[in-house]
Symmetry: C2
Subunit: 99 residues, 2 copies
């Protein structure tokens, strides 16, 4: 099975759209790094929560991607806009549509 993760983060008020744009700018180039799916979603229940769901060929591909210059640059831009409240759920991906 492939590796997946469901992550949430909270932005400072008024910065959710900007953080989502930063995350999406980093999505370019993820496929060649071993990513099969990367979805950025805005929680309907509040104005500050972002959910990111990812599917990778292996956990090692995911971990290595965090060291890519584009990822590091995006993380650096996003971090000051976040509150520091994160969750992360790791998954073994059984399959699906769009992978």
């Amino acid at each position: 099975m492939t590796y997946g993760c469901l992550a949430s983060m909270k932005t400072r008020p008024g910065f959710r759209e900007e953080v989502a744009s930063i995350l999406l700018s980093a999505a370019e180039g993820l496929r060649e790094a071993g990513c099969d799916s990367y979805v950025v979603g805005l929680a309907d229940e509040d104005d500050t929560t972002i959910w990111v769901t990812e599917v990778w060929k292996t956990k090692e591909h995911h971990d290595a991607s965090l060291e890519l210059p584009g990822a590091k640059e995006a993380i650096g831009r996003a971090m000051p806009l976040l509150t520091g409240e994160f969750t992360n759920q790791e998954l073994s991906v059984a399959g699906g549509l769009g992978l």
Copy 2:
């Protein structure tokens, strides 16, 4: 923005693989129903939790899909294998890879 949801369910002990297979069998035909992504994942932290992440063209497409014969049949087969503990998070999907 398109519609997304992150749902979790808990299976009775020993039935997680079977429920995942049922969910994946229902994935066939979802694309023509308006689904852009459907990922079935098994939580790493226990042996009974399944996460399903979905992206649909609209919420109406999602809701209508639950009435499809294949979906109803799959739900009917899966329900006796579940504990009844569900979570659901609705999202506005900002974008991503694999959509």
